[in-house]
Symmetry: none
Subunit: 415 residues, 2 copies
Amino acid sequence: MTAEILAVGSELLTPQRVDTNSLYLTQKLNELGVEVTGKGIVGDDRARLAEAIGEARGRAPLVILSGGLGPTEDDVTRDAAATALGRRLEFHQEALDAMEARFRAFGRPMAAINRRQAYILEGAEMLPNGRGTAPGQWYADPKGVLMLLPGPPHELQAMFEQQCIPRLKNVVPPQHIATRQLRVAGMPESDLDQLIAPIYTRYQNPATTILAAPGDIQVHFRGRGSTEAEARAAVEEVSRQVEAALGDRVYSRNGESLEEVVGRLLQARGATLAVAESCTGGLLAERITSVEGSSRYFAGGWVSYTNRFKIGRLGVKQQTLEAHGAVSPEVAREMAEAARSAAETTLGVSVTGVAGPTPDAGPGAAGPKPAGLVYIAVADAAGCQVQERKFLGERERVRWQASQVALDLIRRKLG
Amino acid sequence: MTAEILAVGSELLTPQRVDTNSLYLTQKLNELGVEVTGKGIVGDDRARLAEAIGEARGRAPLVILSGGLGPTEDDVTRDAAATALGRRLEFHQEALDAMEARFRAFGRPMAAINRRQAYILEGAEMLPNGRGTAPGQWYADPKGVLMLLPGPPHELQAMFEQQCIPRLKNVVPPQHIATRQLRVAGMPESDLDQLIAPIYTRYQNPATTILAAPGDIQVHFRGRGSTEAEARAAVEEVSRQVEAALGDRVYSRNGESLEEVVGRLLQARGATLAVAESCTGGLLAERITSVEGSSRYFAGGWVSYTNRFKIGRLGVKQQTLEAHGAVSPEVAREMAEAARSAAETTLGVSVTGVAGPTPDAGPGAAGPKPAGLVYIAVADAAGCQVQERKFLGERERVRWQASQVALDLIRRKLG
């Protein structure tokens, strides 16, 4: 079975915005055995969108629209779909009630124009939106299915997952799919590919895909079979060999993020954590606390951005700073140990470095230190380990990679 | 004048790949005064691509194709364009010679299949490729222009810059473009639109686009004119009225981010800043320090995640925590004042709240507090202001909106 995806919105025809909803949708459709055969991007133009919907329905039995369901004049998806299908839009009190309840729950008045969002295609099912005001729509006729989904990714994803996938399973011929995802920290993509390409290129099934971000690589396997066992066996055969080749660089086998793995390990060991950051400026703490329930193992942290703060608030020795500079293994060590001791935690972790882009940027470099130079320290009852790294790239990329290495060191310490 | 862009390649219909060539092309076209009115992504399917080219040419005088010009069976762009135009493909010895010279220069033998790339549409101009083997093509007839460009971005960009832009200048009526961008914090999109739609909808020129993220909205104006002054006047007329309607909610007129505006204002006032965060977990400090040179005004911060840390490390009073709970205006106030006093800064800012998703999640809620409830405090020499907010959505979204409000309060304090 095939699908076409239409993203709606004039902002998607500017140089700034790219449609990413279709990537999520494609992944979910592929998992059901549906191939995406075309994608289109249409501005806020009712007539053109109606035409595009008609054309897409002429080619594919599943057509998915994202965006254009808001309350403003520019939101033309409902009207365009009605034109394309030759159907009326009907007012749904139920949809309006849900919107009003949502606004009430947050103690805000609902603007009158939101009423527009309560119009549903004649014959369509309304898809409730748990994360926003615009309801989605599911319209099915002998020609195929048309789905209208909201544009904001977190709304679209929740709605597709909860409302569309169960309905699609009644429409799409069953095919068994098994997937596995290995995540690897701190390895360049080319090194990883050289190591594992000799394995995965020998197999058509599963399909193997590598997604690389700086310091973080995902290896996806997607196996197909006429039974679930067959699909799983295909994945198993290849992923086992790839895992063996990658060893302990693999931090997750089930989609868990590195911060989730670290949180799970800390809880399992009954351990607690405090951090002291300089160049990452709060990013390490932010990533750790992005995990729900992190207050069970994360005590807190210091963003010790100036030397004065490092000395006065965190307890780094002035003479250490003067002798070695803020970006040094000695200061990294004192920061990690100070964090651990002041917060009374099992582990103390620190990051100090030059985020860049200028070599002398970053706080308190006593001597000139190059952009990208970072020291990361992990202290526990047994002592303190310090690592030196040199990262390439922009400020944001250096900071992100430094937080990645810090998290991976915690993982290895606990693993 | 309008253009449509078609990206060709089955890899662009996978969950991993997104077409980015169209962003570059859109920017360059906009600079010439050309609007992109639609984009499409087509797989390696000759018949479907021929149909898509014909449809696009029926709608827009400029049609640009990227990709599908390689030497393999899967590269169908030449054939599809020939079918769509009803033109033959002609062998160009000149194109083959250029390819052979390129291979020779790299000391490699040219495979026989590369010969396919030397076929050019009858009546088209060959566009030499300085960075790869596939030549591009420029085909013009009374209906419009069709451009065939290679898929790799560095090849496409060089070819478009050197070969297409000079030709387009002879085709596109000369037009001047002026732009302005207003950024607004802490206002729901529907409220903003209700306020400013009565203004901007009265004008076709400039074009007004609204890009909304939670707690952050961009309003883009793009004016056209036969002179630069005319284009600028069109933008000025509308943006002035919109600015007046939005008042001090506008934090930037030139594309500066909120963290950059805050940094600039702190420097201009010779002021310094420290933060104490609970539910944002380091995000506020991370955003402040994402700005290069932030060490000139940012002293540091505390991520006081547990009550014990709030009391022991930051100096919040135990009885305040017990009487009001960690998520309370009283604790927000003590956190902001403690940060300011300990770091000896001009301003101290704090955030405490329930990031969610569960109501009792978040550190140390003495009584039950709903997810999304956040207190933000700003302390200076004159005293301390506290704001209560209730944010919608997921954990990450609540945290981001809380950091946004905190930054906006600092801006207003300094403004």
